[in-house]
């Protein structure tokens, strides 16, 4: 039992008992290794189902929309930024959510673990910055930092941007981390090379939309890909359509993406789909000095117009 889990349970119990909230949204232990399942608890007697570990990578902001209840939510840095975005975009009301902020040490990338493990992974234990992986071929221990999801490794907003209560000590941020090494690599490529890069990236996509659905930003009643009149994009397995879907999805997230990594984590085919959203996340930072979800007081740059908006692309 880790201290964070303990604290979360305490807070959840208190909130439910005091009737402050109708439900607590958090994670429970999963049925397979490296999986924690988003869940809700309405009964204070059941708060012990809640856990916190390195497998809580799914963005819980996604679970708060279109609900009537007063909710408490266990939220790490990126989750809180998406909650802020939801509040700005009228998806939830601030008074409707009680944010149990979790200073986050990063989430474990199950694909990295699988690649490093010897055979099928049977169990994974986290302890003191180490991760012990038991696999078919035996037990191995790794530094936790070596197993982090890519987005967590370059995270510089680990602490909640907005919270009502913290479930642990704030952690040290790493503001100087180079967040865009990968984007710059692509930027430096020639047009043909870029095209090929993304072609290869997308070759295994099955259009299951797990990336879209795991993303808290995607909440339109009807997604443009599902629209049939007009049919903005073909529904089949054509590579052009697949590319259109991914880039338009990214475009819809421009200035709103918090690089929470939910999309990439959800992809059943292991496609690094953050490569699409990250370019625009970088642009929002560089052109508008904007990072999504850091404040309730301003709308994302693409939602507003200012005469002094950068317009270098207009000639």
């Amino acid at each position: 039992m880790n201290a964070m889990t303990d604290k979360i349970r305490q807070i959840a119990r208190r909130l439910l008992e005091e009737g402050k909230v109708d439900m607590v949204v958090g994670f429970r232990k999963g049925t397979v290794p490296m999986m924690s399942e988003p869940c809700f608890i309405k009964d204070s007697a059941r708060v012990d189902a809640l856990v916190w570990d390195g497998n809580c990578g799914i963005n819980l902001a996604n679970y708060l929309t279109r609900r009537k209840e007063r909710m408490a939510v266990v939220a790490k840095g990126c989750d809180t930024r998406n909650i802020v975005t939801h509040i700005i975009e009228n998806q939830i009301r601030r008074e409707q959510v009680y944010i149990i902020g979790v200073p986050c040490q990063g989430m474990i990338d199950k694909r990295k673990v699988k690649n490093l493990a010897d055979g099928e992974v049977l169990s994974v234990e986290e302890k003191d910055g180490k991760v012990v992986v038991t696999a078919g071929g035996g037990e191995k221990s790794f530094d936790r930092t070596a197993l982090l999801q890519d987005n967590c490794a370059i995270c510089h907003h680990k602490n909640p941007a907005l919270s009502d209560e913290l479930a642990g000590e704030l952690v040290r941020e790493n503001p100087d981390v180079d967040r865009y090494e990968d984007v710059r690599k692509v930027e430096a490529m020639g047009a043909a090379e870029k095209w090929k890069f993304f072609d290869e990236l997308l070759s295994t996509c099955i259009r299951c939309y797990a990336c879209r659905n795991a993303c808290p930003l995607c909440y339109c009643p009807t997604c443009f890909v599902d629209e049939s009149k007009p049919q903005w994009v073909g529904k089949g397995q054509d590579p052009t359509d697949t590319r259109t879907f991914h880039f338009l999805r990214a475009f819809h997230c421009a200035g709103r993406c918090t690089d929470c990594g939910s999309c990439e984590r959800a992809c059943p085919m292991g496609i690094p789909v953050r490569q699409f959203t990250k370019k625009l996340e970088k642009d929002a930072k560089e052109l508008f000095g904007w990072e999504a979800g850091m404040t309730l007081d301003a709308r994302p740059p693409l939602d507003t117009f200012r005469p002094d908006d950068p317009g270098a692309f207009i000639k």
Partner: protein, 877 residues
Amino acid sequence: MRKAAYVQYAQAVPLKYAIDSANCIYFQKGKCRACEKVCPTKAVDFTQKPETVELNVGSVVIAAGFKPFDPSRFDSYNYANYKNVITSMEFERMLSASGPSMGHVARPSDHKDPKKIAWFQCVGSRDLNKCDNPYCSAVCCMYAIKEAVIAKEHAGAGGLDCSIFFMDMRTHGKDFEVFYEGAKKQGVRFVRSRVHTITEDKATKDLSVRYVTEDGALAEETFDMIVLSIGLETPPETVELAKKLGLELTSGRFAQTGSFTPVSTSREGVFVCGAFAGPKDIPQSVVEASASAVSAGQALAEARGALTKTKEAVPETDLRGEPPRIGVFVCRCGINIAGVVDVPSVVEHAKTLPGVVFATDNMYSCSQDTQDTMAQIIRDNRLNRVVVAACTPKTHEPLFQETLINAGLNKYLFEMANIRNQDSWVHKENPEAATQKAKDLVRMGITKAALIEPLPEAELDVNQTAMVAGGGISGMSAALALAGQGYETHIVERSDRLGGQALNLHKTWRGEDIQAKLAEMVAAVTKNPKITVHLGTEIAGVDGFVGNFKSALSKGGQTTSLDHGVAVVATGAGELRPSGYAYGKSPRIVTSLELDKKFMANGALVTGLQSAVFIQCVGSREPERPYCSRVCCTHSIESALEIKRRNPDAGVYILYRDIRSYGERETLYRQAREAGVIFIRYSVDRKPVVEAAGDTVGVTVFDPILGRTVQIGADLLCLASAVVPNDNTALARFFKVPVNAQGFFVERHAKLGPSEFATDGVFLCGLAHYPKPIDESIAQGQAAASRAITLLARKKIRMNGQVAKTNPALCSSCGVCVSVCPYKAPSFTTQGPFTGKAEINPVLCKGCGLCVASCRSGAINLKGFDTNQIMAMLEAM
């Protein structure tokens, strides 16, 4: 010589032929009438006779215009004899795409492309020796530069050498100075010299001129062509008319008006506008047109509406449940379209398309008889969508929509395909492709038409109150004009006094006493029961839209709210506080306005002046202020004359770059010279040097005529300082109107909409628009009021039906539309099944499409430009 059947010019609206009886065989010889036989619409009627119609009117507006000066009487220019000497009007026609040479510049003698063209300015202007036109025609400098630039651009890489021979370059209009500087950069040569004689080489027909260069040397140069920049003059018939009406004329034979009554003639009830009230350019003519309309209307305000006929409204047909029945009308536009596009094949193509139940071609779709026929066809064939393939919706859509209304259809059931401006005109050389393109455009239009729906128009009461921001001369004249027509008007003035800049001015160039006239005007404003004056008040915010503005007025920390239907922006401008020329170092160095104050106070400084120097263009025509302040030349000359009047022996010097005494102000310039005022030109890179030493001011300037430096010891130095706009950013934001780089407001259209903004219900006048003298400020004030009244008189306005609309089922409530809309049209529904979803107030919506583009969920459509309609058009392409 034009043909007997002619149209005035190719883009005339309406584009109708007339018969010139002087050239018609039938009228001259009594036989022919061929046109009557061939006319398919039987439009030719030879039985028409001149009729005399008697009208009983309350006011008369004379807009008789001008005649271009005829230079054939000038022997020295040999216009009558040398083929390659042409007038600027002829050159203008050459440049016109629809002109005799289709926009190609060719030498009349041999039709070769000219390589070297010269313009001679002031032909028939500023000239009392060879003709009797003492005035400056005010427009020729600018049009000559424009012609040179266009000719140069047209010549392209082949190169064209353009030279303009001038005395003073008068680019005093808004944005003209920038154009002048641009022309210099493009290589147009400006030669300050008046040429006396042109000689033609008999063999080559080249033209040789001799002229004196600025440094006094004699030069000779040969040109392929010479364009005479001819001036404007009042034609004898108009002079005759003026006599008949008993109107006084000026020395230049223009209608006599007053600075405070700029569109009133000497006879009550007779008003004037345009070039008959003095030579002027388009914007000023348009301003006067509006001003004369409002002035003429003032006397008639009570009779308004008495003689209008109410049009009978045709009830709108209910189309619910009906499949599209599309009618297609393909216009031949005479030969404009049919000369290039195979119109019958376009009609045939249209007939094959789904939904089309009727297709035909028209000779001129816009003619009244065709309109009537179309309405009949619509009724007979029960058409419920109409596509017209013709010219541009910009000019003609309203006309055809009217036809739909007359036929009982909602006016939005209409779609236009532009097969003229965007097809036959631009693909003249490729008729086949043009026909194909016409078919494509028509097909796209039809495909869209099948999907268009009738749209309702929101109707809105107009609050019949006006707010005028600014209580200066122009603001007050706007208010008086508005109140004169019976509308409640509020003047909001920041200072604690009405009058604005006029309070600082002494006399007009016509010699009128400004303070006396101003006092009359202020009294008229304060006495007027319809006008409320808010002094010491600022506008703190503006909400609402045309017909229903709500402005927050802040006075001494207290804010009140004013509801008004229209707003006139007359916030004025100020005088630049000069830097340099030792300004501030001596009490003897003053600005123009400071000098006027001293005149008015009759202070010590202006009595017994022995010598005075004026420096022009202080802060104007500089890189940081690249505009001419328009008023300063005349102002300085008037002040110089005032000094001369007080002491005829005083030495008065005006140091200038170009004297811009445009129009009849030129006579004042002449008077000054006659009175002994000395004019010394300086160039911008060799400005006068001023030294404030003891009780006199030393001015050193290089005189290009003497070719040496002149030193003047002056008792007074007057700096003709620039007119600078006030900080207009807040007001610009409140009314969502633009401000240009120099800080002046940007009008709706530089030529045709000088007194209004692109934002509905907001109007503009006075110095806030551009520097201008009192007469022009008053005219513009009246013009702004005139434009405003066109709205106020309607009582109700209908809003455009082409507005955005949300589909609540698709809306994700993200609020982007609410945040991006500049007009505050979207909001969240507060009740009903779609609570929390966005909806759009059709009254506030301008149909700009910003929300449509920014909606991630695709929940917003712009009616009339629905996604499905656009996609259908793309599919049809």
